[in-house]
Amino acid sequence: MGKKSTPGLNTSAMSDISFLLLAFFLMTSSINTDMGIARRLPPPLPPDFTPPEVRERNIFQVKINRNDRILFNKEIGDISLLKERAKEFLGNPNDRDDLPQKENVDIEFLGVYPVSKGVISLQNDRGTSYETYFKVQNELTAAINEMRDELSREKFSRPYKDLDQAHRDAIDRAIPVAISEAEPKK
């Protein structure tokens, strides 16, 4: 009979406190939305550096002028064509003489694969807007990503994004990000 249950704690204020905390965190934080394109810069050049000779057929020049006009293949072009041209250049499916040479490299999982020696040379003016520059980078990335995806489907019959890291590395070696940015002119 002496066992009388203890009176219940009034916990309704607790929910108020946790609501306050919740509101605080909602206001001071932001949902992770950092998206973008990752790139690696080339290391700084030694002072006695001489640029290596590259054959003309191995270079795909993309230039952006101060009015955000884009020049590739020595003619003014529209950005919507850039991706196809870049793919054609890097892939060189018909082994044409005016498109880049290929070098056979032994790659794990892929066997001997002809890796293109082509380099996309990107040059921009100081007056180019960042937006146009980014769009060009985006198109070139799209070209490389599509080629990687096609190769992955062909060799492993799976899309590139479903591959594990080792297979991805193999594809990345077969189709490297061959974008070279010109030294800015002073």
């Binding site: 219940g8 009034n10 916990t11 309704s12 607790m14 929910s15 406190i17 946790s18 609501f19 905390l21 919740l22 965190f25 909602l26 001071t28 934080s29 932001s30 949902i31 992770n32 939305t33 950092d34 998206m35 973008g36 394109i37 990752a38 790139r39 690696r40 810069l41 080339p42 290391p43 700084p44 952006i64 921009n124 003016d125 100081r126 007056g127 180019t128 807007s129 960042y130 937006e131 520059y133 980014f134 769009k135 980078q137 985006n138 990335t141 799209a142 990503n145 800015p184």
Partner: protein
């Protein structure tokens, strides 16, 4: 009858609020896990360019931000109307990048400082001259991993 009347005197029984706080706490933890703290208040306006090929930026603890844009209206008197660079909490110049890189590297362990990425968060209208200068400075300070911030373009 008398007995029933006595019961009615007590009024409606109080709702049990004990589990409500549990639910709110669950919500709280959910938001704490999926969000990150705002690092610093921005002084510059940034409308990043749009891209279709964007990927997520991994490992937020290994990222330092370089913000470039036109100062907001309330700061134009102080910083002008030309695009400026913001590093952490202050407006800086291109020459300050080197020091900033050193500072960010020394704040992390040696292994981590090799993986440090510098995210360039620039407004679409910023001229490339400024971005190129920053990239050159980063190269000279051997901070080679960079990231161009953008928003995902949903429509193809």
């Amino acid at each position: 009858m008398a007995r029933f009347k006595q019961k009615n005197d007590k009024g409606t029984p109080g709702l049990n609020m004990g589990s409500m706080s549990d639910i709110i706490f669950m919500l709280l933890f959910f938001f704490m896990v999926i969000t990150t703290m705002r690092e610093s208040t921005l002084f510059v306006k940034i409308a990043p360019p749009k891209g279709t090929e964007v990927t997520k930026l991994e490992k937020k603890s290994l990222v330092s931000y370089i913000n470039i844009g036109v100062p907001m209206e309330s700061y134009t008197a102080k910083y002008g109307t030309e695009p400026r660079i913001q590093l952490n909490d202050q407006i800086a110049d291109v020459e300050d990048i080197r020091q900033f890189v050193e500072l960010e590297k020394s704040a992390r362990s040696e292994e981590d400082s090799k993986l440090l990425t510098f995210a360039i968060k620039a407004d679409g209208k910023v001229k490339m001259g400024m971005v190129s200068d920053i990239k050159q400075e980063l190269r000279n300070s051997s901070a080679l991993k960079i990231f161009y911030n953008a928003t995902k373009d949903v429509k193809k």
